[in-house]
Subunit: 336 residues, 2 copies
DNA sequence: GCAATTGTTGTAACTAGTTTCACTTCGTGC
DNA sequence: GCACGAAGTGAAACTAGTTACAACAATTGC
């Protein structure tokens, strides 16, 4: 005897069970106030009995709306995007929109694949970090006409609205701070530049601060371990440098830990500064000096802009939030 | 003159433009090999011209499938779930499924709301961390019949399959390690227990290790800062304890940093051990001793189980992965 | 040379909802 | 006692796809 595949009940089933028309059931679901109370209760009973749940797809097909927004982000592995994602998600929720996160591992191919996935799911909007994406992705967005907002980056003339911050300025702030403290010999530690325009911008921001500082760039994996690796490969325990400027707090942690492991005193022997201000930065020992990126404001605003774009079709303006130097304990004046 | 709302082209439009029937267009999309090459090219030209993109909702309504799986997780703020989520997402991708992540902030109300959202989106499956959820959520799952898999927890007789690890055993391992090193006076630092059954299990696992160790429990916020706070409130810089057993690596970092700030030597003066083995644990100074949770295997397996359940209807068996003591540098024999 | 098979395409019926329009009541106003 | 408007409901058309079935032409087999 085959198991009776009790398939999901649909509107028609409910209508039949309640002895009303499908239109009435639909009304009970959407505008219950126009239905006679008696009828409504009858329908509700049938709904409960049949364990009816309206199909989201069928709804979407009529309204043309899925209420899903997609976000492509490189990774969830580190705190870098967590706060932003969380505030986007929360704010989006206020508009009845949900966020779907897909990770790209900074690989253009995977980014395209995941974007395709998101489009297939039926996302109504797309968040993209940075402006550097494959032509194929731009094509896809252009073809589908999906509202797209760039975050973590600011470039007012870009094809999509950018709601973010000035990465150059952020890194400029941190270098200026080091210079003010008298540091001239600075190691700049950063993640993969080829695949990440935020990193490239920050590197550029550091290079263009007019100064007589000598900069040495070190590229490594974007992780705590990556930061450690840089220091471990340096001659003289890295003490040839006055300071380490890390283009991400995550890297700063790695640098800090590895220096400590080698007995180098921070900030007495060398200073360290990061960029981002992740939650842990305030707790490490010593507390990390850094430049705070406006992750939450940005996320909030980006979500609002997206919601508005989708609801009334008003394409948002690009917007730039300020970064802010947070001087804590890993930076100190240079010991002569 | 009003802006002509050029609405999205649909199958019918393409069919008309290409001079064929809708069925043929649908065939070009799904089984191009059965269509005459000439016809196919014609249709493809029309598709390109009209920038046609098939509606995911309309597809879903026919197949009854959205190919979306939902996951409810407390937070993305810390590394706790990142690796698991990432491996779930990756493995799910191999089956043509996408993951939607919704955060719950450990709040049953928000958990229910977000679950409702996921159901409305039309998720075909649901990942839930732990077994402790509101009746309303169970109700929702029961009503909708959505395949649900519990992760980060193991309890073979639970209403849903659990694919995870034994939290009691994990914390037991860490305490056993401390005891073996001669520590008897142990501070157990943990996150909010009321809202988190994994935490409760770990606390229990520690309590039930038969031993003559004296345990003191400290509950705090689940964050690096939370770990620091515990130490900062302790008399005598926390040195009344031989060791800190942190039920999460995140907390262990906070404890470590705060002890360092107070000049307490780790592991010479006190030992620290965590649970989880997040990426940073290997890089901190000193490197954190911990119990490695099988986050990636679990995520991978959970994704496979879910995919199988959805595809052929085979409800997965619960499965328990082993945790493993990772002895590094924050634990040492007790100095007498 | 005719039946059988294969290849290609179109018609129309499905999927599961929403929505328009028309209809029946019923209460009120005059 | 009848016109009028409002409330409540249903039939059918609509959303955008997939697919079963039928139709037809072009080969192939005998």
């Amino acid at each position: 005897m085959p198991v009776r595949e009790r398939k999901r009940a649909n509107l028609r089933d409910v209508a039949k069970a309640a002895g009303v028309s499908v239109a009435t059931v639909s009304r009970v679901l959407n505008t219950p106030e126009v239905v006679l109370k008696e009828t409504r209760l009858q329908v509700e009973r049938a709904i409960a009995e049949l364990r009816f749940h309206p199909s989201a797809a069928a709804r979407a097909i009529n309204s043309g709306r899925t209420k899903i927004i997609g976000a492509l982000i490189p990774s969830l592995d580190n705190d870098t995007y967590a706060l932003t994602i969380e505030s986007i998600e929360n704010r989006l929720g206020d508009f009845g929109l949900s966020l779907v996160v897909a990770t790209t591992a900074e690989d253009p191919k995977q980014e395209l694949r995941r974007a395709q996935d998101l489009v297939n799911i039926g996302v109504e909007g797309l968040f993209l970090p940075g402006v550097d994406h494959s032509d194929a992705l731009h094509d896809l967005i252009e073809r589908t006409g999906i509202p797209t907002v760039v975050i973590s980056y600011f470039q007012p003339d870009f094809i999509y609205p950018t709601i973010g911050y000035d990465n150059q300025k952020a890194s400029g702030l941190s270098l200026a701070h080091l210079i003010e403290l008298g540091h001239r010999n600075v190691a700049v530690v950063h993640g993969p530049a080829a695949s990440n325009d935020r990193t490239r911008e920050r590197a550029k921001g550091v290079s263009t601060v007019c100064s007589d500082a000598a900069l040495a760039f070190f590229e490594t994996e974007l992780s705590v371990a990556g930061g450690s690796t840089v220091v471990s490969r340096l001659p003289n325990n890295g003490e040839n440098f006055d300071a380490f400027l890390c283009l991400s707090d995550i890297l700063a942690f790695g640098v800090l830990f590895e220096l400590q492991r080698r007995g180098v005193l921070v900030p007495e022997d060398v200073s360290i500064i990061g960029i981002h201000d992740v939650p842990a930065s305030e707790s490490v020992f010593p507390r990390l000096s850094t430049v705070r990126l406006p992750a939450q404001q940005m996320g909030r605003k980006a979500a609002e802009a997206m919601a508005k774009w989708i609801e009334d079709g008003t394409r948002p303006e690009s917007e730039c939030f300020d970064s802010q130097l947070i001087q804590r304990e890993t930076t100190a004046p240079r010991q002569s």
